[in-house]
Amino acid sequence: MATLAVPNKPEALESQELLTRVQTDRSCRQTVLIYYTSAVFWLLLGSVLAILASLKMHIPGFLADWEWLTFGRVRPAHLNSMIYGWAVMAAIGTLLWLQARMGRVRLPLPLLLPVSGLVWNVGVAYGMIAILIGYSSSTEWLEFPVPVLGFFGFCLVLIIYATLVMMMRRKVHHTYVSQWYIYGGVLWFPFLYVSALILTQAPHINGTVRAIANWWFAHNVLGLWLTPIGLASAYYFIPKVTGRPVHSYHLSLLGFWTLALFYNWAGTHHLVGGPIPAWVITVGIVGSMMMFIPVTTVAINHHMTMLGQFHHLRTSPTLRFVVFGAMSYTLVSFHGSLAALRSFSEVAHFTHHTIAHSHLGVYCFFTMMMFGAMYYIFPRILRREWSSAPLIKVHFWTTAIGSIVYVVGLGWAGWVQGSMMNNPDIPFMDVVKYTIPWLESRSVAGTLMSVGHFVFAYLVWRMLRGDGADQQGPTLLTTARSLRKQRERKARARERAREVA
């Protein structure tokens, strides 16, 4: 009888754990839903603005009579919609859910956090309108006028509070690597935003110090805010979906602290050759080189966790997006470190190469990571399934192919553009003419990515309507072929086991 009692105990534990999970998921429902659906809205608006900006680059007369849609306004509107609307709102939704799940606690502030989601939207809308009607601060990544800080500040205070409370109340003593990253990101971002806003716009500061503060911010908002949330997601979802623990605790520890230490210093590589003291740029380059450490550790850790588990990519939508994101992270970071070098920057700086690089980071890494997180989290907070596996595939392939065409095409064109610009015998207009076919290819790639976004938005809309509610089990991307392969693999494994026996 004693042998029978043993399996009963974990079963009871498991059901208790399931219950907690359901409860924590339910506590997140309203807040995460508001942040996620708003994020998808800004993603669509950002895509439309992106296509407009892209078309205007090779058809300069397109909609040129409307001042509010001139290139110099549509382009920052696109960036801000994507960063503060899409990326940040998706990040906040994800980090709140992850914190509740990992700490096994309910989300605090059940009334104020959903309200913060609405307030954030008002802030973004206010900033977007300000840019389009001509009140941009003309400081890259900080175009929103100062009063927007009031809206963002209100929300960020609540989010810091919720994060700290969940950290204190957590039922699991041990903290997981994803929790460190979230904790770091949540504290870093408000500090970055406030200090950069002051240093770029307050009076009596040397104009070039403003430039340094500008790029200290713009680079860190990626490295110390979007990157931690993206990596927290990768560290959570890869082991979760594959069912294997993270390869090495010590590597993740090393990765976290070296990121915290070195990324901070890397931003000034955006000013190579600029009118600022040489030592500031040298520090930026050294910081960028040191980034090889955290990036390599994270890459090894994720790859070793995935080893032998790659077949899950065929079935799990979450894992597909997350692994695409994780691989892009390695790529964009190595590329970024190289791009910081003076000799590289001499060519690539001031060209479309930088634009390709930033899309490799914010899109191929972060955005794809957030798609992966949403494919996992939406069904859990709503207790419904995605309604269509083929549409998820369309979403994946349009965004994956679109972003690869975007990054490779513009990356190449930018490099040639920079080389041509550095040769004074080539007239400037020839450089412009050279880039036009590549700008057209970018419009095609961007349209493809946007098609993916609209498909995703349609899936989310059907999710909200409950179209997949009656489905049994998760929506997997399994096809007849992949099922057959899976059977064959199992058969081979059995055979091997028999041989060994």
Binding site: F71, S138, T139, G207, P275
Partner: protein, 201 residues
């Protein structure tokens, strides 16, 4: 690593450390920079006031920085000087009064650090802003018709700029810049960093 306080202190320390090192130290190091007295006794640079400063706001709100830089890289690093974008590299002193950073990061179009010296014709600037391909065939810069009104009267007002013959239509024979258009050109005309500075030799 289970102590949240430890992570908290580490996280705050790293970011404050970099802010001090990268931003506050250069600000303190160069707070001593003053204006430079040129050979004829004038001080360089001068803070922008009046119409050029109003034009700076137009430059900002139209998003010119997304395609144009305002910085000349040193000789031997890129071809900025060989392209004629400036006689010398630009240095911190050039920007000491800038209320916002407009040095830029993108050169879809050419650098504008010295555009006032390089293209001193206001007529050229107006025609170029109205429709860039009039003066620069092949340009992909967006036209800015909203900075102008067009007219076709037989006796154009004194501030009208005649369109070249091949660009005239029955309803548009000349353009008149509105106040924002004039301010913007005032600003562009003010961009001249050709004063020789000892630190830029």
């Amino acid at each position: 690593m289970n102590r949240s306080l430890f992570i908290f202190i580490g996280v705050i320390f790293t970011v404050v450390f970099s802010l001090s090192g990268l931003v506050l130290v250069p600000d303190w190091q160069f707070s001593e920079i003053g204006q430079f007295k040129t050979a004829d006794g004038t001080l360089y640079p001068q803070p922008l006031t009046g119409p050029p400063d109003a034009g700076r706001h137009v430059y900002m709100d139209l998003g010119c920085i997304y395609c144009h830089t305002q910085q000349v890289r040193p000789e031997g690093f890129g071809a900025d000087i060989e392209r004629g974008w400036g006689r010398r590299r630009t240095v911190m002193r050039d920007y000491m009064f800038d209320p916002i950073n407009l040095t830029g990061t993108m050169r879809t179009g050419p650098d504008l650090a010295n555009i006032g010296a390089r293209q001193p014709s206001r007529t050229w600037q107006y025609l170029h802003l109205y429709n860039p391909v009039i003066t620069s065939p092949g340009s992909i810069m967006p036209p800015h018709p909203f900075l102008f009104t067009v007219g076709a009267d037989a006796a154009p007002p004194p501030d009208a700029v005649a369109l070249p013959k091949e660009w005239q239509t029955p309803t548009a024979k000349y353009i008149i810049p509105n106040s924002r258009g004039r301010f913007l050109v005032d600003y562009l005309m003010s961009l001249d960093k050709s004063v020789d500075l000892p630190e830029a030799q």
